[in-house]
């Protein structure tokens, strides 16, 4: 360590360009609307890993940072989507070797009888090594009302591997905020082994409209100008209704709008159709929604 003088110059820009990380971050900005705190955290992690790479070049070795994460947020705020992205980002930065995601829930980890849980959990962990293990709705692992539940065993094995083999895999837990907090309260060991607790904020109506447009573009549809205006109204109305699940509700609404558009095109069969007609969602397709009829009844 001593044979390298402290004044050795290092080239941050070169490492930065080699990693292609800007490309990934740009893509993230383009494809994920809003989510400011999430993006800034990803940026921080990316910076840390890049600097670590540089430090290694001048033989300033440090233990690899713990990158286990916990994503909390309301339904449809993009937790799963970001987890999938995270694997790619960490792969580009050379933190994980393969960059695949193994998404599991309680069923995949916890067994049905004594001695079944440990091999099951280990098998999942082995599959996830070199990549990211994404545990959706992680709070179901722990059931305080049943002390003989095997979930605790799975958590124990998980903790052990998270601690001892952090260079082999990254664990991401996800779930709704309040239940996740309760989960961590009863499993303090889990909470302290997770370095990054990221909260996913709800989307604003403007962001949701952006997301809708992005989804439409992905499906090769577009709004007519009136259609877009109506959909903005729809979003505001829908947000006030119960069971609003952010981007997921938007996706469902778009799916229903596509149904109505298809129906409308069928009904107007005597008219000659163009590519434009197939492509465009009109205001009528959205106005027929339950959201508008119900609020006008009240």
């Amino acid at each position: 360590m001593n044979d390298i003088p402290d004044s050795t110059p290092v080239d941050l820009n070169k490492v930065y360009e080699e990693s292609n990380i800007q490309e990934v971050l740009d893509q993230l900005d383009r494809e994920l609307i809003g989510l400011k705190p999430v993006k800034s955290r990803i940026r921080e992690i990316a910076a840390l890993l890049l600097v670590d790479k540089l430090r290694e070049q001048v033989q300033l070795r440090a233990q690899s940072p713990s990158l286990h994460m916990c994503f909390t947020g309301n339904p449809g705020t993009g937790k799963t989507t970001v987890a999938m992205r995270m694997a790619e980002i960490l792969h580009r930065l050379g933190y994980v070797r393969e960059g695949h995601v193994v998404a599991v829930t309680r069923d995949d980890l916890v067994g049905q009888y004594i001695g079944h849980t440990a091999p099951k959990t280990r098998e999942v962990l082995k599959k996830a090594m070199g990549g990211v293990l994404f545990i959706d709705e992680a709070y179901y692992l722990y059931k305080p009302e049943n002390e003989r539940d095997y979930g605790a065993e799975a958590i124990e094995i998980l903790l052990q591997v998270m601690e001892n083999q952090r260079e082999d895999l990254v664990v991401i837990l996800a779930g709704y905020k309040d239940r996740m907090d309760r989960f961590f309260l009863s499993n303090p060991g889990m909470s302290s082994r997770i370095a990054h607790h990221i909260d996913f904020p709800d989307y604003t109506p403007d962001e949701l409209l952006e997301i809708a447009k992005l989804m439409m573009a992905g499906l090769n549809y577009r709004f007519s100008p009136e259609g877009e205006k109506t959909f903005a109204e729809y979003i505001v109305k829908r947000m006030e209704m119960p069971n609003f699940a952010n981007a997921r509700s938007i996706r469902n609404a778009l799916d229903r709008a596509r149904l109505r558009q298809a129906n409308r095109l069928f009904a107007s069969h005597d008219k000659a159709l163009t590519r434009q007609d197939l492509l465009t969602i009109e205001a009528d397709d959205i106005l027929a929604s339950r959201v508008f009829t119900q609020s006008s009844n009240q």
Partner: protein, 139 residues
């Protein structure tokens, strides 16, 4: 006497790093890898005990290395091998198999002669290690 079974057995023992690269090659070909152990080194003993289930759908050798280490910890004085099985139709057979752990002392084999009818001689091998019952060999 050092036994030579499977791949690489005429080479010096593989390091963990080399084992990892070999496993990586197997995984790249979508072969299922498993870990087996035995204390009966007879060359015709093909059925070794299995250490856990064969591992399917793995992407990275770290998980298999974890099992290898666990098996070494439990049976430091036995033979341990890693086998990669190819399930492709037409193959359906192990494609790789190599020893990753061996006892510190390998007593070797005795040549047995049996005189049969007409002064014919039949030859066979007998491992000195198997004089003792299973579990007490190589101590």
């Amino acid at each position: 006497m050092r036994i030579t079974q499977g791949q690489f057995s005429f080479l010096p023992d593989l390091t963990d790093e080399q084992i990892t690269s070999q496993i990586k090659y197997a995984l790249k070909n979508n072969w299922a890898v498993n870990v087996e152990y035995t204390d009966d080194p007879h060359p015709r003993n093909t059925y070794w005990e299995m250490w856990g289930m064969p591992m399917f759908d793995l992407r990275d050798p770290a998980g298999i290395m974890m099992e290898v280490q666990d098996c070494r910890k439990t049976y430091p004085d036995q033979y341990i091998r890693v086998t990669a099985f190819d399930s492709t139709r037409g193959w359906e057979t192990p494609r790789m198999s190599f020893i990753v752990n061996r006892p510190k002392e390998e007593p070797g084999f005795q040549l047995l002669r049996q005189e049969s009818d007409g002064r014919h001689i039949r030859y066979t091998l007998h491992s000195y290690a198997t004089d003792k019952p299973e579990g007490q060999r190589y101590r």
